[in-house]
Amino acid sequence: MNIDLDPWFIGGATLFAMSGVLHLSSMWRGNDAGEERSKWWSKISLDISLGYWSLLLVCWLLHTGGQGASRLWFGLSALAVGLSYRLIDRRVKVRSLGGVISALIALLAVFSYQLSGEPSLTAPSVDSSMPTTLIIHIALAVAGLAAFAVSASMSGLYLVVAKRLKSKQLVMGSKRLPSLSTLDEINLKGLLIGFPLYTGALLVGSAYAFGGSGELSLSYLVSLGSWSIYGGVLQARLTAGWRGQRAAWLTLIAFIGILLVAASYSFR
C-alpha cells in the first residue's frame, strides 16, 4: 500500500508551531490559576507534538525503508532539540524558552517536509547500502545541533533579558524569565556538549565528502565557519572568562550559520 506521508510531516510542523504559540501566550497570563492552566497546556502540547513526531518518523522509516537520509537527519534533529529542552526544563525552569524552541522544531519539521524522500546523491537511503561514515556523521550532527539549539536559545533569551534590564522595562512576564546567570550557564554547557559532537560530525562528514566527489561545497564552508566561531567563543569563555552579551551574540551567529547549512540541504 502506497501512503503519502508528506502531509503528516506538515501536520507535525503545525503542531509544533501551535505549541510555540501556547508557550508564548502562557507567559502573559495575569494570575496564578490562569498561569498554571496555560503552563500545563503548553507543556502537554509539546509532549503530544513530540510523541506524534516520533511515531511519524517510525512510520516513515517502516514505510519507505528510510529513503532520504536528510529527512531523517532533520526529523531526528527536531526530536533531539525537543527532548533536550524537556530535559533542561525539568532541572531549570526555562519555560519562557518553550516558544522559541517549539518554533525552531517547527522550522526543522518544515525542512524535513521539504525533503520528499526521493533518493539522491546527498540523500541516500538509510539501509545496509548507506555508508557507516554517513550514519555516524548524521548521528553526531543531530546531537550537536540539539546542543547548539539549546545554547542558541539561551543566548537569544539572554539578549532579551539583558535588553529589558538595560532599558528598565520590567513588563509582565519578566518574572517567568530565568536569570542571566542561569542562561549563561546553560549556554556554556550547550557549547561544551555541542562542540565536540559537531567537530566529530565535521571530521566524519569531511572524510565522507572527500571520499566521494572530493569537492568543497559552500555548505561545507559555512559549516566550517560556524564551527570556527563556536571554537572561538568556547576558547574565549574558558580561557579569558568571557561572559554576557558578546558571547551570546556570537553563539547566535554561529547557530544561524548551522541553520543555513541545514536549510541549504533542505531546499536543494
Binding site: 494570575n31 533579558v161 534590564l165 542571566l180 546567570s181 561572559r243 554576557g244 552579551q245 558578546r246
Partner: protein, 447 residues
C-alpha cells in the same frame, strides 16, 4: 434561639491608617500581657467570641455574640463603641472620646464583608501586601489559646479561604512595591543564586541600608560595607553582619562585588565610566548590578551603557514601584468583585443549610396537626366502617400534601435568593417552628 443568623451578631470595631493618626495607632499597638488582658476582658463583657487584631496600621476588635445583635435586646452602635472604648482606654491611656472619634463600627453582613476585605489585603495601606493574612491567623491562634474565639474561628477560616482565592485568582500580590524589594527582585533577574554573590554597600543612607538588609535576608553570600569614614563603615558592617572597607579601595571593590548599592552624600559621581570600564575588564565582563539610591546620583548615567553593567537609580526604582502599584489597583477591582461573590456564596450556603431543617420542621408540624385532628374526629361517637376511616385519613393526607406542596416548592426556590434568610426567619416565626442551631462551617466544595 430560632434560626439564629449568627452573622447578625458579628461586630467589628476598630481604627486603621485611614481613620487614625500614627500616634494613636502607636498607643493602641498592644502586645503580650496587656493584649491578653484586653481579649479576656472583652470576652467577659460580650460573653461570646472575641478576637483582637493589632498591626502597625490597624487595631480591630471582632466580636460574635447575641449581646451584640441589633434590636430590643441588643446594644446600639454607640453603646458598643462606649463599651469597647472603655475597656481599651483603661489600658492605653487614651480618653474615651478620643477613641470613639477614630473608631469605626461594622455589623452583620457589613462586618463580614470588612473581615473578608482585610484578610484579602484590600483594606491594607499597601494593597495586596501578604503580611496581613499571617497577622490575622496569629490573632486567631492567640484568641483560640485563650479560648475566646468561639464561632469566630469558623468565620475567620472562611475569611482565610476567601483571601487565598483572591491571591490565587488575581495578580494583587504579584507586583512588589517597595524600593528595596524591587532592588532585590532585579538582582534575581541577573543572579540566580545570591548565596554565591558579593554585595557592596557604599555610604550610609537609610534606603541603602534597607536594601542591603533585604539582600542579606535573601541570602546574599557576602556583604562589604564601604564608607569614607572607616569607623562608620565598621559600625554599619557590624550592624549588617558584613565586612568594613575603605572607600579608597573602590576600584578593587568593584571587581569583587556583583551587586553594588550606593547612597553617599557625594555631589559628584563616584563611579565614572572610566572606573567602571576598568573594573569590567578586570572582572572579565561578569555582570555587575548597581543600585544607585543617592541624590544626586553616585553613578554617572553613561555607566549603564557599558556592556554587562546594569544601573538602576532611585527614579527607575520608584517608577517600577508606581507601575506595580497601579497594576495592584487594577487587580484590586477584580478582587473586590471576588469578595462580594464569596459573601453571596456564604449566604447562599447558609440559606441552603437552614432550609432543610425549616422544611422538615414545617412538614412535621403540619402532619402532626393533621394526625391530631383526624384522631379527634375519630374519637367522636360517629360510626365509621374501615373504608370510611381510610377515606378520612386519605383526605387528611391529600389536603396537607396539597397545602404543603406549594409552600415547600416556594421555599426551595428561595435557596438562591439573597433575602432567603429573612424568609426563613419569617416562616419559622409565623409557624412557631424551632430550628436547630446553624452550622457556619464551610461546605466541602469550598476552594
Amino acid at each position: 434561639m430560632s434560626s439564629a443568623l449568627a452573622t447578625d451578631h458579628l461586630i467589628v470595631v476598630g481604627l486603621n491608617h485611614k481613620t487614625a493618626p500614627l500616634h494613636i495607632r502607636e498607643q493602641l499597638a498592644l502586645q503580650g500581657e496587656s493584649k491578653a488582658e484586653l481579649i479576656k476582658t472583652l470576652k467577659r463583657r460580650l460573653s461570646g467570641g472575641t478576637m483582637v487584631v493589632s498591626t502597625c496600621n490597624r487595631v480591630e476588635f471582632y466580636g460574635l455574640s447575641s449581646t451584640l445583635s441589633l434590636g430590643e435586646e441588643g446594644l446600639t452602635d454607640h453603646q458598643v463603641l462606649e463599651m469597647i472604648s472603655d475597656v481599651v482606654s483603661e489600658r492605653c491611656q487614651i480618653p474615651i472620646d478620643e477613641l470613639i472619634k477614630h473608631f469605626y463600627i461594622h455589623r452583620g453582613d457589613e462586618a463580614l464583608h470588612h473581615i473578608f476585605r482585610v484578610a484579602s489585603s484590600l483594606d491594607s495601606l499597601v494593597i495586596g501586601e501578604p503580611q496581613i493574612l499571617g497577622q490575622l491567623k496569629e490573632a486567631l491562634e492567640e484568641s483560640q489559646s485563650f479560648e475566646t474565639s468561639g464561632d469566630l474561628s469558623i468565620l475567620m477560616e472562611r475569611a482565610f479561604l476567601v483571601a487565598r482565592r483572591v491571591r490565587n485568582q488575581t495578580g494583587i500580590s504579584k507586583h512588589v512595591v517597595s524600593v528595596s524589594s524591587i532592588a532585590v527582585r532585579l538582582a534575581r533577574h541577573i543572579f540566580e543564586d545570591l548565596s554565591e554573590r558579593t554585595a557592596l554597600l557604599i555610604g550610609a543612607g537609610e534606603m541603602g541600608e534597607l536594601a542591603a538588609r533585604h539582600l542579606h535576608q535573601d541570602g546574599v553570600g557576602r556583604l562589604l560595607v564601604a564608607n569614607r569614614n572607616l569607623d562608620r563603615a565598621v559600625a554599619l558592617a557590624e550592624k549588617l553582619n558584613g565586612s568594613p572597607r575603605a572607600l579608597s579601595e573602590l576600584s578593587e571593590l568593584l571587581v569583587t562585588a556583583d551587586i553594588v548599592i550606593t547612597s553617599t552624600g557625594s555631589q559628584e559621581p563616584i563611579i565614572t565610566p572610566e572606573i567602571a570600564q576598568a573594573a569590567l575588564k578586570s572582572r572579565k565582563y561578569r555582570p555587575l548590578f548597581i543600585i544607585d539610591i543617592a541624590v544626586p546620583r553616585d553613578v554617572d548615567p553613561r555607566v549603564n551603557r557599558l556592556e554587562n553593567i546594569y544601573v538602576y537609580d532611585v527614579d527607575d526604582l520608584s517608577q517600577i514601584a508606581d507601575e506595580n502599584m497601579a497594576q495592584r489597583a487594577n487587580e484590586a477591582t477584580i478582587a473586590e468583585e471576588l469578595v462580594k461573590e464569596e459573601l453571596l456564596k456564604f449566604h447562599r450556603e447558609r440559606a441552603q443549610r437552614n432550609l432543610g431543617p425549616l422544611i422538615t420542621a414545617l412538614r412535621t408540624k403540619v402532619h402532626t396537626l393533621k394526625t391530631q385532628e383526624i384522631d379527634w374526629a375519630l374519637s367522636k361517637e360517629v360510626v365509621m366502617n374501615q373504608a370510611q376511616e381510610k377515606l378520612l385519613r386519605q383526605m387528611g393526607d391529600r389536603l396537607t400534601n396539597k397545602i404543603l406542596h406549594d409552600v415547600l416548592t416556594g421555599l426551595k426556590s428561595l435557596a438562591h435568593h439573597p433575602q432567603s434568610e429573612d424568609v426563613i426567619e419569617v416562616v419559622s416565626t409565623l409557624f412557631k417552628l424551632t430550628l436547630p442551631e446553624e452550622d457556619l462551617s464551610p461546605s466541602s466544595e469550598d476552594p
